[in-house]
């Protein structure tokens, strides 16, 4: 959780690139407008030492409210949203629609030769759907990156 002030995202990302940590996924949005607080969800990887370092480095940044390692806390819920454009005619078009249905993807735009699907789920599910669409006329993908939250009644401290 960070103060929603100019430069804060650059600060966080700069830390990762400057210290050689990798970012697999990054999601940012203001979560509490009144409190000017934003939530940054980052997926990264490293040994437990590296993760501990990343946490400590993030925590000492002046505009950072708090840092939580959802993986270590365990049991976190992760979701991603993807918008997927597919073109095609005939059987391929029907097949993409059938698969979309099976994956509970919604059609949010359609022309006679294309669909845009909206799909929410775990990264692995989105990956799988995209790879199935590949031979059926996949044109473009837009993904949000992972948003995550812990299970249970407890909220993250700000």
């Amino acid at each position: 959780m960070v103060d929603n002030e100019p430069g804060v995202l650059a600060r966080v990302i700069g830390l990762f690139s400057g210290r050689g940590y990798n970012i697999d996924s990054l999601t940012v949005s203001e979560t509490e407008h009144e409190a000017h607080v934003s939530r940054i969800t980052i997926v990264t990887s490293g040994t437990s030492n590296v993760i501990e370092q990343i946490k400590a480095q993030l925590e000492r940044m002046v505009p950072v409210h708090s840092v939580a390692d959802l993986t270590v806390q365990g049991n976190a819920i992760e979701r991603e949203l993807a918008l997927i454009k597919v073109t095609g005619k005939g059987e391929k078009r029907m097949e993409s629609l059938r698969l979309a249905d099976a994956f509970r993807a919604r059609v949010i735009d359609a022309t006679t030769e294309s669909f845009v699907f909206e799909l929410t789920g775990k990264t692995s599910k989105v990956d799988q759907f995209i790879s199935l669409m590949q031979p059926l006329g996949l044109v473009e993908v837009s993904r949000t990156g992972i948003a995550a939250i812990s299970r249970g009644p407890e909220g993250m401290k700000i």
Binding site: A56, V62, V64
Partner: protein
């Protein structure tokens, strides 16, 4: 509004008022278009004295010297664009060495930001990775709060540099001033007091030690003179040996019998061997830097480690520790001493005696030994004499970077904290001369000496002009070996003695250079004339450049070659003179 109207002032006025309210007496700066309104305010007041440097890097190092020698924040004022970029080296230096600075930079007017305007640069972007925090002030009504916050962030917790970038239109705009008051930051809360359970566990571990060592660092100095006092008390109570990093020198008196000398790459044999062989290591305010650890996997393999640090990111960064104690050194030491007394802990006397016997054996190797010479001044000898002849005086030392810096650390015996100003983390050549300016400004009556190298000192030599302007009687004591000695030493040890570009060709005549600046130039070439020359230098109440001609090919030992362990030190005697003499090629002989 009527009641507050007296608090309405321009951004430039707000800046000077905030500085005055923060107790700032000196700022180091250089003017330019984007800070003219601030300079106009400086002109019209008397509380804050401005010191005009000759290069913005000089302003940052002067402010660092000021900060390190006083414990107060150093303040810098520079213009936009090149003014700000010139300050980057000093900001990075301050970040690496945990020095509190507040640097105000001018910026192009808000409506021009992003337009590639004249002398525009992305100051907050450029300085983000080299500051503890930075701000771009877009609204004059935020200015006072941000300035007070900048001082708070710079000086509390682990100190560091903070940049406040102020666009020119904000300097002209009128806004409300608020005083420093009680700055409570929304998110920034450094931890000062340690967890008492952890302190107890640490004290228990300390009491159980058979081969203990204190390994102390710059954090003790950051924590203030109280921390040094407590450290001395704790060492006295326990009788444990103590070693310190370069940044921690002076926190513990070098004359004390518990003192093992500096540790690390150029540390003493006894300090490094004791670190290697200890069973309990008590790190107080040091960060396991790579100059200390050598090969990490072979670093002090059999010890349990306590690490006292105010910054959790310093813990387990390079070396895994058993007991991290997060808090300020003085607070932690105070608690440790109290717990030690309350629990009536006793040290393991026989084990400790055994340990000291071992340490004394290591000590008897006399690892700082060097071969004195009659014909040329050995650099070590020059520092020994400088120390002997200034002993008991109120003296502050700064250094540049290189062999001379290490010899200063080895041969100048520091008894008090805040007396050594040196660039440890970044290793910035050109730090020492401008740093003397800040130190002398803060301590006008003291003797301030830069132990310099011939190459380093040329990087910021122009600040002699500042010293002359403000009549600062700083002493620039150059160990002139006509080489980038540290580079040459590495080339000798690691690159087959191919001295690629490390010879200081075409050095100026430093005596004449001093005179050109309006300072005093001196030179010593033979050991026999050194003492008189140093005494004369001390007596002169003007800035001096002292060209001390020293042996050109002396090496700095002991040394842990990079990538080696503490018990694989190179001692001076291991490297035969013949090897060193070979370094003089035909060409070098003509020149030296």
């Amino acid at each position: 509004m009527a009641g507050r109207s007296d608090e309405q002032m321009t951004g430039a006025e707000i800046i000077l008022k905030a500085l005055a309210d923060q107790g700032v007496e000196h700022i180091f700066g250089y003017p330019g278009g984007a800070v003219l309104p601030i300079y106009d305010e400086i002109f019209q007041q008397e509380k804050v004295k401005h010191i005009l440097v000759r290069h913005e890097q000089g302003a940052t190092h002067a402010a660092e010297g000021y900060a390190r020698s006083t414990g107060k924040p150093g303040v810098v004022l520079v213009t936009s664009g090149p003014g700000a970029t010139n300050a980057v080296t000093g900001l990075t230096d301050a970040l690496m060495d945990s020095i509190p600075l507040v640097c105000i930079t001018g910026q192009v007017p808000t409506h021009l930001i992003g337009n590639d305007a004249f002398q525009e640069c992305d100051t907050v972007g450029i300085t983000r990775p080299c500051t503890k925090h930075n701000y771009l002030v877009k609204n004059v009504n935020d200015l006072a709060r941000i300035l007070h916050e900048a001082f708070y962030v710079a000086t509390t917790g682990r100190p560091g540099p903070v940049v406040v970038d102020v666009p020119k239109d904000v300097q002209f705009a009128k806004g409300t001033y608020i005083g420093p008051g009680n700055i409570q930051h929304k998110t920034y809360r450094p931890r000062i007091k340690p967890d008492q359970n952890v302190v107890r566990a640490a004290v228990d571990l300390i009491a159980s030690a058979k081969r203990p060592i204190f390994y102390t660092g710059g954090g003790v100095i950051n924590s203030g003179p109280g921390a040094s006092k407590l450290l001395r008390e704790f060492v006295k109570m326990t009788g444990f040996p103590l070693t310190s990093t370069l940044m921690g020198l002076g926190a513990f008196p070098a004359g004390d019998k518990h003192w093992l000398g500096m540790l690390g790459m150029h540390g003493t044999y006894e300090a490094n061997m004791a670190m290697h062989g200890c069973d309990v290591m008590i790190n107080i305010g040091a960060r396991f830097d790579d100059r200390i650890t050598g090969r990490v996997d072979a670093f002090s393999p059999h010890s349990r480690k306590i690490h006292v640090d105010i910054d959790p990111s310093s813990v387990n960064k390079n070396v895994p520790v058993d007991l991290p104690v997060i808090g300020d050194c003085a607070h932690v030491l105070e608690d440790m001493i109290r717990v030690w007394k309350a629990r009536q802990h006793q040290v393991d006397k026989p084990a400790l005696a055994q340990w000291w016997k071992q340490i004394d054996q290591w000590r008897s190797r006399d690892s700082l030994k060097y071969k004195p010479r009659k014909d040329v001044i050995m650099p070590q000898y020059a520092i020994e004499r400088l120390y002997a002849l200034t002993r008991g005086k109120d003296v502050y030392i700064t250094t540049e970077v290189g062999q001379h810096q290490m010899w200063a650390a080895q041969f100048f015996k520091f008894e008090e904290p805040n007396r050594l100003m040196t660039s440890g983390g970044l290793g910035t050549m050109g730090y020492g001369l401008p740093a003397t300016i800040g130190v002398q400004m803060a301590h006008p009556k003291s003797l301030v000496v830069d132990i310099a190298g011939d190459a380093s000192v040329l990087m910021t030599m122009q600040e002699m002009s500042t010293a002359v302007q403000y009549r600062l009687p700083v002493k620039i004591f150059i160990l002139n070996n006509q080489y980038m000695g540290m580079v040459r030493q590495w080339q000798q040890l690691l690159h087959g003695n191919r001295l690629s570009e490390s010879y200081s060709e075409a050095l100026p005549d430093f005596v004449k250079l001093a005179e050109a600046y309006g300072a005093v130039g001196m030179r010593a070439e033979k050991p026999a004339e050194l003492d008189d020359a140093i005494k004369a230098m001390i007596e002169i109440n003007r800035p001096v450049i002292f060209d001390c001609r020293v042996a050109s090919l002396a090496n700095c030992f002991p040394m842990i070659p990079s990538g080696k362990a503490h018990n694989e030190m190179l001692l001076g005697e291991d490297v035969p003179d013949a090897e060193i003499e070979k370094a003089i090629g035909a060409e070098g002989k003509v020149l030296v």
